[in-house]
């Protein structure tokens, strides 16, 4: 076999154009289904692990899929919001811990990198997701934020830098102002969507949303032009001339305040961590009534529905790949037959010299073996490269 492999190798190198074409054709036929399978397996494993690690999600009624993807991957936003008050069934009976999520805004682009989603949440989120701070510390004051590892790398952010929120509507002059946030820490890489987000305290998110604000102190010395009504010395109403602060500083932090009851402030979703299995069942029961404006979802259940669609896509890819594989196989047989015809004289020479039919079969077999081996190596390298480059972007390719 050693000699057959040597002769086959020399023959393949001599007919390098033909060999390369065949190798690439076979490699593509192997690469496509393999890569799709590996990528979908990775995707399945990634999305399953995150959904399995998230016990319950509460949010306004609407698309179950959208709500779960929003709470897990910070993508999109439900049209109808929820509030902490909606978690009352959970908190009242101490069935679990609700973790608020407010994800409506993104940071402004920085150094040519698109803005990252700003996730307003409570400190429990970091504990729940087991997120560690690589440098700096978690947000402790209004206006503080920590950034995910990939955002920090992409935007070249370090502790002490500043990030601006991006208003959703440039024409809402009375509502959303860009808030300058102070980066107090960088999160260690978690290899999850948390790496692509910026986290602030929920109250900072509400300030970005225009629900809370800080502005100059209004008193008897305030310019009358900034007041709507200055006749009553006890109550002063400012007009739009009083601009809110766009940065929280030690000097103005005390002026920040919210108008209303925080329990009624908007949230886009809540992660609920039940105290135990029994509590989990009770929470699900509490939200099962269709009269309630909110729904409580088991993310793993919703994700499995999603994966069934992915599985169908995978099956479709397999069918296409099998068809392509059959076509390639037929072409390979054609190439082999034509090649044998072209090389009939060479085979005849070997036969006349005393070569056995078995050796000639070995020679042809060695050529096929080397071709398939080279194609497999090429396909494996291409698959590895594709998986390495595309794995992180797969979620985006599939959903958003």
């Amino acid at each position: 076999m050693k000699h057959a492999l040597y002769l086959a190798c020399r023959s393949l190198l001599w007919h390098r154009g033909r060999s390369l074409t065949v190798v690439i054709s076979v490699a593509v036929t192997i690469w496509l289904p393999t890569t799709v399978h590996v990528l979908l397996s990775l995707f399945r494993s990634e999305i399953t692990s995150r959904s399995d690690a998230t016990p319950l999600i509460v949010g306004a009624r609407g698309s179950r899929m959208d709500l779960v993807l929003h709470a897990l991957y910070f993508k999109g936003a439900p049209r109808v919001e929820t509030t902490m008050a909606d978690a009352q069934p959970v908190t009242a009976a101490s069935l679990g811990v609700p973790i608020p999520l407010h994800i409506r805004y993104r940071t402004q682009p920085r150094e040519g990198i698109d803005g990252a989603p700003i996730v307003g949440t409570s400190p429990e989120y970091f504990e729940f997701r087991k997120l560690d701070v690589q440098s700096g510390e978690l947000p402790s004051l209004l206006g503080d934020c920590v950034v995910g590892a990939r955002v920090a790398t992409a935007m070249h952010l370090r502790t002490g830098d500043a990030l601006f929120s991006a208003p959703r509507n440039a024409f809402d002059l009375a509502g959303e102002y860009p808030l300058k946030m102070k980066v107090t820490g960088i999160l260690a890489a978690a290899h999850s969507p948390d790496d692509d987000a910026v986290f602030t305290d929920i109250r900072t998110a509400w300030i970005i949303d225009g629900i809370g604000h800080g502005h100059q102190e209004l008193n008897s010395q305030t310019d009358a032009a900034l007041l709507m009504n200055s006749s009553d010395t006890q109550t002063m109403t400012a007009n739009a001339g009083v601009l809110p602060y766009t940065e929280v500083t030690p000097e103005n932090i005390d002026s920040f305040h919210f108008h209303g009851e925080p329990n009624t402030f908007p949230l886009t979703a809540m992660i609920v961590v039940p105290a135990d299995e029994k509590s989990r069942v009770r929470i699900l029961g509490q939200f099962s009534s269709s009269d309630r404006p909110t729904q409580c979802l088991k993310p793993s259940e919703v994700v499995n529905e999603l994966l069934s669609i992915v599985f169908r896509i995978e099956q479709l890819v397999w069918v296409c790949s099998i068809a392509t594989g059959c076509a390639t196989l037929l072409l390979l047989i054609l190439v082999l037959v034509l090649s044998m015809r072209l090389r009939a004289e060479e085979m005849r020479t070997m036969f006349l010299l005393g070569c056995s039919r078995f050796t000639i079969v070995q020679l042809m077999g060695a050529e096929i073996l080397l071709t398939v081996l080279a194609a497999t190596v090429l396909a494996a390298a291409a698959s590895w490269l594709t998986v390495t480059l595309a794995a992180e972007r797969l979620g985006q390719l599939l959903f958003w």
Partner: protein, 231 residues
């Protein structure tokens, strides 16, 4: 040496028949077969090489009756004991000169490609005057050079018998003389018998024996018995 007695051969579905009552050639002797196309010269070479099986009679190369060997043994015997040279050289394009000479070693697992064989190949190339071309692709050689490579390949395993089928058919007269001299010189040196087919009558004096073949006449079923004629 080669010894043929009462050899008979007919192709299936063909009126052609070949009969050779007796033909003996000692080691180191050379014979040339001449005759018109279709008279059975190449058929005889193929019978001597064991490529075709005789319908009767016997061919003994050395001490072995080659038609008593089974297919596998006959191929190995041919590889080890019979050197073949063809009119169109039959070199393998994707191998260089040295690799073409060493090709017989790669065609049967029972033959090892030893350093001794490698040295013999280089010695044969040197003797043929093409040692400097050993790493060159055979596609970049002249016709004469290619035929010399083919002769070196035929002589590599020191065969008892060398069969050359019109080896000079594509060569100019000067190259023809050099090739024939190389064949005669190398077979004589290794004490091998040489049987060569040619249409070139100017070469006949160089050989120990001339074996003329008569033209085959269709419809007569006549046996063409070449007569051994000493030159």
């Amino acid at each position: 040496m080669i010894s043929i007695s009462k050899l008979q051969f007919t192709y299936r579905d063909s009126p052609f028949s070949l009969q050779i009552p007796e033909l003996n050639l000692a080691g180191g002797q050379s014979a040339v077969i001449v005759g018109p196309s279709g008279s059975g010269k190449t058929t005889l070479l193929h019978l001597m090489a064991g490529i075709l099986s005789a319908t009767g009679g016997e061919i003994i190369v050395g001490d072995t009756s080659i038609h008593k060997l089974n297919d596998v043994d006959r191929r190995l015997f041919r590889l080890l004991n019979i050197g073949l040279v063809f009119q169109d050289f039959q070199l393998i394009d994707y191998l260089n000169v040295l690799e073409n000479v060493l090709l017989p070693c790669r065609l049967n697992p029972s033959i090892s490609l030893t350093e001794d064989l490698r040295a013999r190949a280089i010695a044969l190339l040197t003797s043929a005057g093409i040692q400097s071309l050993q790493n060159r692709s055979v596609t970049r050689l002249s016709q004469g050079e290619r035929q010399r490579v083919a002769i070196c390949r035929a002589l590599l395993l020191s065969p008892k018998l060398v069969l050359a089928d019109e080896p000079t058919g594509n060569l100019d007269p000067a190259t023809t003389q050099r090739i024939v001299q190389l064949l005669l010189q190398e077979t004589s040196r290794s004490n091998a018998s040489l049987v060569m087919v040619t249409h070139d009558h100017s070469l006949l004096p160089s050989f120990d024996r001339v074996i003329p073949f008569e033209p085959f006449v269709y419809g007569t079923h006549s046996a063409q018995s070449p007569s051994g004629v000493d030159s």
